[in-house]
Subunit: 321 residues, 2 copies
């Protein structure tokens, strides 16, 4: 079946290349690359598919649209506005492309905390030799990681945690199977009961109405005073003011963050100087092959769309109601 795929502006160098390569490699696709919103208005009415971000006024014109490829692994919450959620179009995203990079980043935080690097590296900066007592490390084979959000990143993290003997408990809104390395899987309702048993609370979830502010003052009091919070998902799921207070009050043992309620984290933010924090500037997904992986997902879905097969990386829009 021949179908029409519109690349929505704004374009970038690599998305223009993708449009060309897609037209060359996938049979049956007609690719349009309109430059202006006026041009989009012309092209979108008979479009079967689109890549990019579509504003409500253009979606209203897209009567034939049945597939929308989002330009991110986890588009910001505003991407899914009510009209799009209600629209029959199937939305796919780029999830999966960061699994290995982000899981390694999570493990860098896990290992750093287990081996006291959050204490020793600041001492190094002060040129201070000060070993703690011999028993003062977290013994991974006796520790538990609670992974909130067991998609591709969470599952890869579980596999790596298990290699260190860490017991892994998963919390997920829909997943019920036990990926390699996960010993128990629970629904989000079980979270409060699971937090007191965790040495690492690892958050890999997107920002939805349900996940916004999921970790705040009340839940920090449920964590062990020795436990570490790790968030590499979306910043809006953790209340930074509450986290800062929990760290300074010794309610939790530390935090490793890559995402924040406000990005960039402003220089005057108190979290920078909170005790026992390791902060990276939204780089957990960094690594090679990302654009190649994005293009592979577009190509695979274009092939599937043309032949009527189910798309990959479909988004459950119900999570944004």
């Amino acid at each position: 079946m021949t179908f029409k795929l519109v690349f929505l502006p704004p374009h970038r160098d690599h998305t223009r290349v993708w449009a060309e390569r897609l037209a060359e490699t996938v049979r049956d696709v007609r690719v349009a690359v309109p430059e202006t919103l006026e041009d989009v208005r012309m092209e979108i009415a008979d479009a079967d598919a689109a890549f990019g971000t579509i504003p409500p006024e253009l979606l209203a014109l897209a009567e034939k649209l049945r597939w929308l490829q989002a330009p991110a692994a986890a588009p910001a919450a505003g991407y899914y506005y009510p009209e799009l959620v209600r629209h029959p179009v199937v939305v796919t995203n780029f999830r999966g492309i960061f699994n290995d990079h982000i899981a390694a980043h999570i493990m860098a935080f896990v290992l750093a905390f287990a081996r006291g690097m959050h204490r020793y590296i600041p001492r190094q900066m002060r040129q201070e030799w000060k070993p703690d007592e011999e028993g003062g490390m977290l013994h991974l084979p006796e520790s538990t990681a609670l992974i909130i959000g067991v998609g591709g990143i969470g599952a890869e993290t579980a596999r790596l945690c298990a290699a260190f003997g860490i017991r892994v408990i998963g919390v997920d809104v829909s997943r019920e199977d036990l990926p390699d390395g996960v010993s128990e899987m629970h629904a989000p309702e079980a979270l409060d009961g699971l937090l007191p048993g965790a040495d690492f609370v690892i958050m890999t979830i997107p920002h939805t109405p349900q996940t916004e502010g999921m970790m705040g003052a009340r839940r920090f009091t449920l964590m062990k005073p020795s436990a570490f919070l790790i968030n590499i998902g979306r910043g809006m799921t953790v209340r930074l003011h509450d986290l800062d207070a929990a760290l300074r009050g010794g309610e939790i043992g530390g935090a490793g963050l890559d995402v924040y309620e406000v990005e960039p984290l402003p220089p005057e933010h108190p979290l920078w100087t909170a005790p026992n924090v390791l902060l990276t500037p939204h780089v957990a997904g960094h690594g090679p092959y990302l654009d190649e992986r994005r293009f592979e997902i577009i190509t695979e879905n274009a092939r599937r769309f043309a032949t009527g097969q189910p798309l990959i990386n479909i988004v459950d829009k119900a999570n944004w109601f």
Copy 2:
């Protein structure tokens, strides 16, 4: 067979407890705990075995001594003086007790470097939000770790590296089998040819005449400019002056050290402020159960000695010739 085991002074609280527990739990052992060197002189002449550090003048009197349990996993080089190396006594050590703790510490360094923590944590200390470019991380499935010294620690490190897809090449003075996760094993003579291919050079070796200063100026020039040196073995194997120069000159990518030629590393040492270093104060072996594990080795060897079975953790004294 009844035998006599002398606990050599100086004693510590836990070694006194060990002496008592050993006498209670192992049949056929007579334990002596002399307090002074004069007392040791009386006890050592008919001793079959000893625990601790024995000076040359006492060894000369120990005509019956057939087993010496060293009080460390890798006693400092001075422990093995020429008379002890030539003496027929079998020396055993505590190796193995740190395998899990030190392998986790090594992986904390490996992951930290792979994920750019050596750049991001100093920026965090300056409250600076500065992400590097998206591709600027070390992709572990395309990296190679050269593990110098594949004993218990090296083998456990290899297993963990393999879980991240890291290719592991081992260098060892005697081992020829391929432990889980190791793809190639070489003799030390191959080192110069292997260094240019490594992204991580991980040193787990003891301090012997052969290993002293093993990594110095010449070998740093053989490493990739992007490669990381990790030393958790013995400080005397790495020339710190040369390392500091290699780091400042960009000859290597970074270094994670837990042991040093001089310990404590003096506050004025230039290495503290060298670029891309992560320094911990000889704590890689820290973790729980160490004294329990030490006592288990003494007990196991006492049982074996009494029944004429081969001892565990025997030291190849030839390495100290």
